[in-house]
Amino acid sequence: MDIDRYERLWIMLSAAVLLSLFLALVYSVYALDIRLVDDAGQVDPATAAQTPPFDEPGVYQEGPGRYRVVMVARAWSFQPAEVRVPAGSDVTFQVTSLDVIHGFRVPYTTINQMLIPGQVSEFRFRFAEPGEHYLFCHEYCGVGHHTMQGRIVVETAATGAR
């Protein structure tokens, strides 16, 4: 097979670009320890609403500046629909769906997860600044999908629950 000189150059260049992308990926995974959501446990969707922790959705303080938010999604609401945490807190979300596939998105943040019945989605986010965030479902889940929303209120540290 006889390959043109420039074409050979281009092929090498392409291979080099892809190789560096590949290395960047390996680096981000192993050196920076960027991890995608993985397996964070299962819960039977039929009985999840009676199974801890999902029997009592809410905001729990786990330590200084550390909170755990336990949430349940169903068509077409999140429970609790409003979450309040003080600014500067590290929040771990633990969410599951009771019926169909839903999404969990807090705009302008990296909070972006699928909620799959039977699976627990677990992810962390640090809310640095006070302010109010929307939270909405971003996967089609029936005719009320566009109404499925919630709020995350980040309070100035002084007024926040301690």
Binding site: D4, E7, L25, D38, G103, M114, Q119, V143, H146
Partner: protein, 564 residues
Amino acid sequence: MRRLQPEPAEPAGGPGAELYAQDRGHIQAFIYISFILLAVGGVYGTLQALDKAQVDLYPYLPGFLSLYYTGLTFHGVALALLFTGTFIIGFLSLAIVHGLKRPLADRGLAWATLTVAVAGVLAMVVPIFRNQATVLFTFYAPLKAHPGFYAGLVLVALATWMAALNAWQTWRTWKQDHPGERTPLMALAALATWAMWFLASLGLATALLVYLLPWSLGERETVNHLLTRALFWFTGHPLVYFWLLPAYLSWYTMLPAQIGGRLFSESLARLVFLLFVVLAVPTGLHHMYTDPGVEHSSKVVHGVMTYAVIFPSLVTAFTVVASVEEGARRRGGRGYVGWLLALPWLSDPSVAGQLLAMLIFATGGITGLINSSLNMNLVVHNTMWVVGHLHTQVAAAVTLTFMAVSYWLVPLLRGRPLWGRRWAVVQVWSWFFGSAIMARGMHWMGLASAPRRTYMSFAPYYGAFAEWNWAGIMTASGGVILFFAGALFFMIMARTALGKPNPAEAPQSVPEAGPLHDPPPTPRWLDRITPWFVLGAALAAIAWGWPLVRIATRYAEMPGFQLW
């Protein structure tokens, strides 16, 4: 549409009309069915685009036609699955016939393919418009549709397999008659596309036949919804290459001849198509980066493979542009970039359409890289950004190429000259600009966190994001341009197809580019498909085996929900 350049790369006249006589009927039927689906689906597209600016025209439609998510299900199914599927069956059949210079091996099978496809299309479309299958084109369980929806999709998949089988048999009889000869590139490209698709479609077929169809018929109480979701993406990502490879086939083997040039490197072209057979399938988990319950390590493997499959596309970028440049220089083009001006941007709609398609395709490649990187995906996953990306790729690059191809294909098979060549030039340019504007608006909405698949006119949080409104207006403007560009396309096609028969003025042959460098014979290993298929199947088994087994054996099942 005749060739304009003084020095055609192929001897004028080509193989003559007898070659297509047997197959022109069913090929045209597939093409016209695809046009109808494109027309109706496109109308919903415009309504959806307007909705992004909170312009809600749905209340003016009657009954079930007026429901956003029903329309969106139709838009996705009719365009992404059915328009593409039917057009590709017709187009690849023609590529086989012309590539091998013989009619399809089994005429009866070809008509049976058409019958099965029509039955499948109807079985899907009827429940959608009766609001019994508002599950969008991804039909994620536990949302449960009418059985007709799943059965229809099985039939459509079956039709693609029947068309592939026919192509295969034609190739086998050709080889018997031409011992020792290399398969012509055009045919090899079509066969590789079918091989890739056959492997890819096994996931979808399993999801439908083993799980979803029995479930919707009541034979099965529950399904493992994470498994059917993964099986959907087993097919769902390579589906993109099933759309793309026929466009590549045209860019590599037909377009250079339309410009008056030749194919830059035939061996590399073969390698590109064969690499897709190997690399297309083990990629789909990149659609599930944010899914819980799917292992991080499997996602990383698919992320890496997603980069690998970019390689053949990068090679394509060089080879196709080099072929186009060679043609432009033969037409008198000069200079480093000046040769671009020698291309028929304003005189040949079929060439201009494909060049514009390539241009927009290149931008989409870059946004695709962003989608597939592990961490950037978190910013854009399930936002309007993704919809912007897919419209540059399938709705602009692939669809525009199919439209451009139709400008010679319909006149050729119908035996009538193209009606309104200048209008057709306007049409391809306006589809290009409409797509670019709409996609720009969608990307912008997505970066501002706007979710996809959402009836914005009634979303309570829409008003809180000022940016969405500006970006939505841009999206809607592009959608309106696309509406007119689409209407123009159907007018041109209708007037061409229904014009006075005039075979003498119609094109006589499928354009076919000869090679410039590296004249045949190409190496043997680039003339076979089975070894590449086996390699592809092995890679698919490695990359998908463990995650699928893991999901299938561990996770809970769910009954169905009908939430519409």
